[in-house]
C-alpha cells in the first residue's frame, strides 16, 4: 500500500459510494437519523399514552399496531430511535477514544505500560462479550446508563488492539524516524506523524462497530438490564413483545428497526473500508468502467 492512499480517498469515494449497498446503507442511516431528530413532529401518537385499543393489529391509524398497554408501536419506534441511536453513537465514540488512546500509548511507548494495557484487553477478550456485558450491567444495576457503561467495558479492547498494531507498524516508518531525528518529542511524533496515518482503519472499525454496539445495547435492554419501562427502547420493546407472541407486530417492528440500523451501518463500514483500501477501490473502479 502506498503511503499516500489516505489522501486520495476523497477522489476515490465516489466510485465506492456508488455501489448499491453503500447507497442503501447511506439512505437508511440518514433516514433513521432524521426520524430520531424529528420524532415529535413525525410520530402520530404520544409514545407513552395508553389510550388506543390494546394489541390492535396493524391498520389505519396505527400502522404498526398497538402493544398490550394500548400504545402506538410506530410512535414508540420513532421515539426509540432517539434513545438507541444517540447512545450507540456516543458509545462507539467513547470506546474509540478510550481504546484508541490506550492502544496508541501501548504501541508507541511499549514496555511494561503497553504490556499491562494489552493484558487487560486480553482479559476482556477472554470472556464472551454478551456474558461479560450482562455481568457488568447486572453488577452495576439495571439502567440505561449502566448498560452503556457495560458495553463500553467490553468494546474498548478491540480498538486498543487495532490501534496498537497500526501504531507499532507506523512507528518504524522512515518519516516518523526522520521526525524523531529532527528532535520531535515522542508526544509530538505520535500526534503529528503517527496518529493521522492510522485513523482510516480505526474509523472503519468504528463504523462497523456501530451495528454491534446497538445490538448489544438493545440486547441488554431485552434481557431487562437496560432501559426501564415505560421508556421506548427497541430492545425492551422486543422483550415485551415476546410476552404476547400471538400479536407478532409488537416484537417484529422494533426488531426490524434494530435490523435496519445494524445493516445500514455495516454497509457504511464496508463502503468506508473499500474506499480506504486502494486495491479494492481500484477493483470497484475497473468493474464500474
Amino acid at each position: 500500500m502506498r503511503p499516500h492512499s489516505g489522501i486520495r480517498v476523497l477522489s476515490r469515494l465516489p466510485e465506492a459510494w456508488r455501489q448499491p449497498l453503500a447507497v442503501v446503507g447511506g439512505v437508511v442511516a440518514v433516514a433513521w437519523l432524521l426520524i430520531a431528530a424529528a420524532a415529535p413532529l413525525l410520530a402520530p401518537h404520544d409514545p407513552l399514552a395508553q389510550d388506543l385499543p390494546r394489541l390492535a393489529s396493524p391498520g389505519p391509524g396505527h400502522w404498526f399496531g398497538t402493544d398490550q398497554l394500548g400504545r402506538d408501536i410506530l410512535s414508540r419506534i420513532m421515539y426509540g430511535a432517539r434513545v438507541s441511536i444517540p447512545l450507540t453513537l456516543l458509545l462507539v465514540v467513547l470506546s474509540l477514544l478510550i481504546g484508541g488512546a490506550l492502544g496508541a500509548c501501548a504501541g508507541y511507548f511499549g514496555r511494561w505500560v503497553g504490556e499491562g494495557i494489552m493484558r487487560l484487553a486480553d482479559l476482556v477478550f477472554a470472556f464472551p462479550t454478551v456474558i461479560l456485558a450482562m455481568v457488568v450491567a447486572a453488577a452495576l444495576g439495571a439502567s440505561l446508563t449502566n448498560a452503556v457503561l457495560a458495553v463500553l467495558i467490553v468494546a474498548w479492547p478491540s480498538y486498543a488492539r487495532v490501534t496498537r498494531g497500526l501504531v507499532l507498524g507506523m512507528r518504524e516508518r522512515e518519516f516518523v524516524l526522520s521526525g524523531r531525528l529532527l528532535g520531535f518529542s515522542a508526544w509530538r511524533s505520535l500526534r503529528v506523524d503517527v496518529l493521522p496515518n492510522v485513523t482510516g482503519p480505526i474509523l472503519v472499525l468504528a463504523t462497523l462497530d456501530i451495528g454491534t454496539a446497538l445490538l448489544l445495547l438493545s440486547g441488554l435492554s431485552f434481557l431487562g438490564l437496560g432501559a426501564k419501562p415505560p421508556s421506548a427502547e427497541w430492545g425492551a420493546m422486543v422483550a415485551s413483545g415476546v410476552e404476547v407472541f400471538d400479536s407478532w407486530w409488537v416484537a417484529t417492528f422494533p426488531g426490524l428497526a434494530i435490523l435496519t440500523v445494524v445493516l445500514a451501518f455495516n454497509f457504511l463500514g464496508d463502503t468506508l473500508r473499500d474506499a480506504l483500501d486502494p486495491r479494492t477501490a481500484r477493483a470497484i473502479k475497473e468493474r464500474a468502467l
Partner: protein, 304 residues
C-alpha cells in the same frame, strides 16, 4: 579532529529465541568536516545498521561512536539531544520518508525549526534542492521518487546538520535520477561545510562523489582509502572483486566478473578472515586468525 569517529563498533540484532545476529562486528570509520565518505558493500553487510547506530536509532552492543567530541546516545522515548540533531539522515525509500498527510512545506519547516532558523523559508530550501519554491504547499503524493528524495534532503539540510548520512538514498530511484540526487547531496553537504557519509552498493556513483571510500564486508570494514587510489589500486581481494563486477561501457565486450558464493550468515560467521571462504587468494592463516584492522584488513598485506 574528525567530525565522526566510529571505533570498533559492534551491533547485535536480537530476536527472542534465536541467536543474536552480529550485523556490525567491530567496524571503525571516521568522517571529517567537509569530507564525503562512501561506504560500500553487498546487501546485508551491515551498512545500514552502521548508519542507524550513528544516528542513535539502533543501540550499539560494543565500541564507541563519537560525534563532535561527545558520545552518540541511543534515541529512546526522550527528545533527541540538541547536539545530536546535527546528525541528519536521508533514508532509502522515498515513498516512506515523507509523511503523506502533511504538506511538504510544513515538513521542511520542521527542519528549519530544529536549527532555530527563522530567516529561511521552506520554499527557499526547495529551491536549493532544485525544485520550485512554490511547491511547498503540495502533498508528497504529487511528487516522483527523485523529487521526494530531494524534498527529504531539503528537510535534512534545513536542520543545518554538520554530518549528513545517506542510507542508500539513490537505490530506489531511476537510473537517470541516481547520479543527479547523489551529486546534489554531495554539493549541498560540501557547500554547507558538513561531512557526508554516503552509503550505497553502487560503486560507480560512489566513485563520482566520494573523497574517501570504505568497503564493508559482513560487518567489518575491510579497506579504506582515497577514492582515486582505491579505484586505481584496490588491495583487498574483496574490493578487487567488487570493482571487477562493475560493467564497463567501453565497447570491448568484456563481461563483468561475478564474485562466486554468497555472503555468509552473520549469525554464524566463518572463523578467521570473514572473506576467506570466497577469497581466490586464501591462505592457511586466513581461516585461522582474523587480520588486524587497518587501511587494508587482509593477510596479504601484513602490518609492517
Amino acid at each position: 579532529m574528525s567530525l565522526l569517529t566510529v571505533d570498533e563498533l559492534v551491533v547485535d540484532h536480537r530476536t527472542p529465541g534465536r541467536p543474536a545476529v552480529r550485523a556490525v562486528a567491530g567496524a571503525s570509520l571516521s568522517v571529517a568536516a567537509g569530507e564525503v565518505v562512501g561506504l560500500v558493500g553487498e546487501s546485508g553487510c551491515g551498512k545500514s545498521t552502521l548508519a542507524r547506530a550513528v544516528c542513535g536509532l539502533t543501540a550499539a552492543t560494543g565500541g564507541t561512536i563519537s560525534f563532535e567530541g561527545g558520545p552518540v546516545t541511543r534515541l529512546g522515548l526522550r527528545r533527541r539531544d540538541r547536539s545530536l540533531t546535527k546528525i541528519q539522515m536521508v533514508f532509502q525509500d522515498p515513498y516512506a520518508s515523507l509523511n503523506p498527510r502533511r504538506r511538504i512545506g510544513a515538513q521542511i519547516a520542521d527542519g528549519l525549526e530544529t536549527a532555530r532558523d527563522r530567516d529561511t523559508t521552506p520554499g527557499g530550501m526547495l529551491e536549493r534542492v532544485g525544485l520550485p519554491g512554490g511547491m511547498a504547499g503540495r502533498y508528497p503524493h504529487e511528487f516522483s521518487g527523485g523529487q521526494r528524495q530531494r524534498i527529504a534532503i531539503a528537510r535534512a539540510l534545513a536542520a543545518r546538520p554538520s554530518l549528513l548520512i545517506g542510507d542508500e538514498p539513490i537505490s530506489a530511484l531511476d537510473a537517470s535520477a541516481q547520479a543527479q540526487v547523489a551529486t546534489l547531496m554531495r554539493n549541498l553537504a560540501v557547500e554547507s561545510g558538513a561531512g557526508l557519509l554516503f552509503i550505497s552498493h553502487d560503486l560507480s556513483v560512489v566513485r563520482l562523489i566520494a573523497d574517501r571510500i570504505a568497503v564493508m564486508y559482513l560487518g567489518k570494514i575491510v579497506e579504506t582509502g582515497a577514492t582515486a587510489e582505491v579505484w586505481a589500486n584496490p588491495r583487498h581481494p574483496y574490493t578487487q572483486a567488487l570493482l571487477r563486477a562493475i560493467p564497463e561501457p567501453d565497447g570491448l565486450g568484456r563481461l563483468p566478473e561475478e564474485l562466486p558464493g554468497d555472503v555468509p550468515d552473520p549469525a554464524d560467521p566463518p572463523p578467521g578472515c570473514r572473506f576467506h571462504p570466497r577469497c581466490p587468494m586464501a591462505m592457511d592463516i586466513c581461516s585461522e586468525k582474523e587480520p588486524d584492522p587497518g587501511p587494508v584488513s587482509c593477510w596479504l598485506y601484513p602490518p609492517a
